[in-house]
Structures are given as C-alpha cells and as structure tokens.
Amino acid sequence: MFKQIQNWFDERIGLTKVIEEFNGERIPRRGGWAYTLGSLLAFLFTVQVVTGIFLLFYYVPYFPIARNATYFLKHHVVFGNILLGIHLWGAFTMIFVILIHMARVYFSGAYKKPREMQWIAGMVLFSVVVVLGLTGYMLVGNENSWWTINVLTNVASHTPFIGGFIREIARGGTETSVLTMQHIFAVHVWLLPIVVIMFIPIHLFLIRKTGHQGMALEYKNSKISEDDEKRWLKPDGTVPFFPDQFYKDMIVSLVVFAVIYILAVYVGAPIGPMYRPLALNFAPEADWYFLANEEILKYFPGHGLIIFSTFLIPSIGFGILFLLPFIDRTKERSPFKRPAATVLGILFLLLLVYLTLIGGEPKAPATV
C-alpha cells in the first residue's frame, strides 16, 4: 500500500529522489554535535510560529486591553499558560541559541570564503529575531511594554536626520497610541516572521551550495596545505545528513524543548501589572538580551554625546558584525592559528556578559 503511494508520486514528480537528495547531503563527521545548532534554531522557530498562531486566537492588540487578553490567555484558557510559556521561553532560548550559533561560526572561521553570503543571511535572521523579541515584549501590553515602546522609539529618534520621522512612523503619531500597538502587532505577527521564513531557506540553500566548510578539526589529516582553499572542500570523513546528523539534531531539539517546556509549566510567562501612566514609583526593565544595550545608554551624557549611545555604538558594532567576512579575509580557520580573532571574540563575549550583568542590577532609586 505504502509502496503504491510512493510509486504514484515517483511516476509524476520523482518525490523519492528529491527527498533522497535533500537527506543524503554529506556532513563532516567529527563536529556533529556542534552542527546541530542551526537545525535547533529552525525547530525553535517552528515552535514559535505554531504557538504564536494559536496565541492569536485570544490576543487583542489594543493598549489597555492587550494585557488583559494576555492575562485571560494565561489564567482562563485551558493550558494557555503552557502555550504562552512556550512562546516566551522559546523566544528567550532562540535568542540565546543564536548567540551560541554565531559564536561557534565565528570561532571556527566558518564565515570565510565561500560562505560570506551565508553569514550575512544569518545576520539578517539574527537582527530580525532580536526585533521580534523586542516587539513581542511590547505586545504583552503591561507596564514594561508601555515604557519599552516609549524608550525604544525615543532611542530611534536620535538617528541623524530621519530620527524624528522614524519615531513618528513607528508610533503612528507623536504619541504612543492605539496605532502604535497596531503597528507593532503587524510587524511582530506578519512582517518579520515572513522575513525569517524567507531567509531560512536562503541560509540553508547557501550552506548546501557552498558544500562542506566545517571546523578546522575536520581537516586534520588533509594533505593539502592550509593556504589552499581546496583543503576546505575535503573533510577527513563525512556522514549522510539523514539519519546520522538528523539523529543528533533530534536529540538536541528534544533536550532543549524539554527545558523550554519545564520552564513554561513551572515558571511560566510573567504578565506583570497593567499599564499605569500615572505611577510614580515604577522602574521599567528591559529583557535580558537588551540589557547590554541598556547599560550603554547610561553613559555619554549631554546633548552632543547622546548619539554615541543611541546610534553610533550600536550601529557601528552591528555593521562590523554584519561585514565580518569582508573585514577578516584570512584563510586560516583553526581558532588556535588565528589568535587575534579568537582573543577579540572572547573579549567581546566577556564585555557582553559584563554589560548584561551590570545592566541587570536592580535599580532602587529610593536608596540613591
């Protein structure tokens, strides 16, 4: 019976061959577990899309009501807390795993020729996912959401020349209003997910097109010299994607999903208080992945320097990351043979962790 169905499709579109071609891709052998991060991200994104679609059954993007709709979803919908919790912790995990994925690619030099475009596609995905996280935080509709909208649109307003326009367009007017929420909603639910859905296949296609470009340890026994680009085409050993690599991907996905699920059930998604624009004692807080940026905002006082913290440092930092493959054009791959890049990478990560930790310190103005 199954064979007949298979034959029916094969006679018409050659389905088996397509699947075999996709699954049969040879993957370098030694770094199998390190290569599971990409698949894990694809899996996490799918989970976000699926949970997000069903959150929309209850969500209303209207400022004072949005928080109550989220509250209803969490406390009155059957298993709604789990659905919301998976969406929140899945998003956190996704941003965290992207950072690990980027660090892995950076330290193993996998962004080098011929994979420059892949790094750029990946950076597009990274930036979009971070904005998805921020807009998601705004959509909860609680007090933090309100101040996050205000603060971030004000940050955007410090962009030279067009800043004021950006803020006005993002807010749908001079003030944060019902239109602001509607815009954020459209961006979070339609615009950015579509960008992600477009760029994941591009990212994947480019990986397959450029062939094996694994970590340096895949080429230990290679006899071709390190300066020769051909060296990176022939890993010492390879395995088929399915089932060898896929099996590892599934195990990692299961472990991470289990962690997300446990967090969703036992920690859940905190909703926080309703927005009170008149509150006199409220201290807004950013999500953990924005704390490093938040910390930078505290420096650079005065009218002339504010542009450093709101525009120049973030955009130059981002620009360097974006254009990394064009800045570092050496052929060396092994992290031990390019100490400058490795040390810089480690220092950058330490700085990020440090800024996040001090940015996350509780602020207690009453004690100042």
Binding site: W147, N150, G173, P301
Partner: protein
C-alpha cells in the same frame, strides 16, 4: 510567428526591456499606497487640547517641593478618542513663580521619581538626575525637563494645560 529570443538577439533585448518595465510599473503602483499607509502619521495633524489642571491654591505648594498632579487629556488618536493620563509636576520657585514640568525624563522618556531626601528627580532607567527647577544635575539627559504649555484662567488661580511641551523643536511625544 514571432521569433524566439534564441533566434534574434534584438527580440531578446526587447523582451527583457518589457519584463523590466512591467515589473517597475507594478512595483511603483503597489509602492504608492503602501508608502501612503506607512508614512501617513507624518501627514496627520496632532490633536491639541486644553485641559483643566485645577486651582493652584488647592495644591498647598511649598517652595521647591514638587507636587505631582494628574491631568486627563481627551485626545483623538488614529480612529479613536482616548484618555491620556499624564503627570504634571508643579514646582513653586523661591520667588513664587510656578513651573509645570512633565515627569518624563528628557533622555529617553522614562517616568521620573522624586527623591525627597536628595531633593532630586531620578530616572530609574539610565540614572538621569534633575533638581527641583528641572536642570540636569547628573546622568545622560541632554536637556532640562520639558515644561507643559499652560495658561491661567480669569481668576488667575485655575490652570489649564495643553498636551504639548514648550521649547520642543523635535516635537517629542508625551
């Protein structure tokens, strides 16, 4: 029968030009209304209203001690009319003049806290500090506190506030 592009290079060029033109026309035709929808806020006039704050004599102001007084602006926003609750920080100066501040930090707009022990407004987000007359005394804020546009009624006691800041060239939202 028309020649295929393989038979005639000029026919190939012609087809490519037509393909390009059609894409451009459709692209522009779609972009116009989409840009209209996105840029619409830039062409809308802001709804400015006067709202009564109350009588100054009821506030029992002491010099340099800020009083937070809520106002409720009924403002048309997009397709709806909404109430915007906002804080007006009334400060009486030593010479008796009144200042009407917004409680928004001028750095990035967080809600200021009045720390009585230090006689300062403190921003809980990035550590901006202002004194009771609205001047920056610490942290990243680029300018003194925003002041609401206000006027006194006929009795010289009732104050009306507009949902607009004085000296606000970038037309910052409130």
């Amino acid at each position: 029968m028309a020649k295929s592009s393989e038979e005639s290079p000029s026919r190939r060029t012609f087809m490519m030009v037509v393909i390009g033109l059609i894409s451009t026309v459709i692209g522009i035709a779609l972009a116009v209304p989409i840009l209209g929808a996105v840029l619409n806020p830039l062409f809308r006039k802001r709804d400015i209203v006067w709202t009564k704050l109350g009588k100054i004599s009821d506030l029992n102001l002491k010099p340099l001690t800020p009083k937070f007084v809520p106002v409720y602006f009924r403002v048309k926003e997009g397709w709806s009319v909404n109430t915007l609750p906002r804080q007006v920080v009334v400060v009486k100066q030593v010479n008796g003049d009144l200042l009407f501040f917004s409680n928004q930090c001028t750095h990035l707009g967080c809600p200021l806290h009045w720390i009585a022990a230090r006689q300062k407004f403190l921003c809980p987000c990035h550590g901006g500090m202002f004194n009771a007359t609205g001047q920056v005394v610490g942290g990243p804020p680029p300018r003194p506190l925003y002041q609401w546009v206000h006027k006194f009624g006929k009795d010289k006691d009732t104050v009306y506030i507009q949902n607009k800041f004085k000296d606000n060239p970038k037309d910052r939202g409130i």
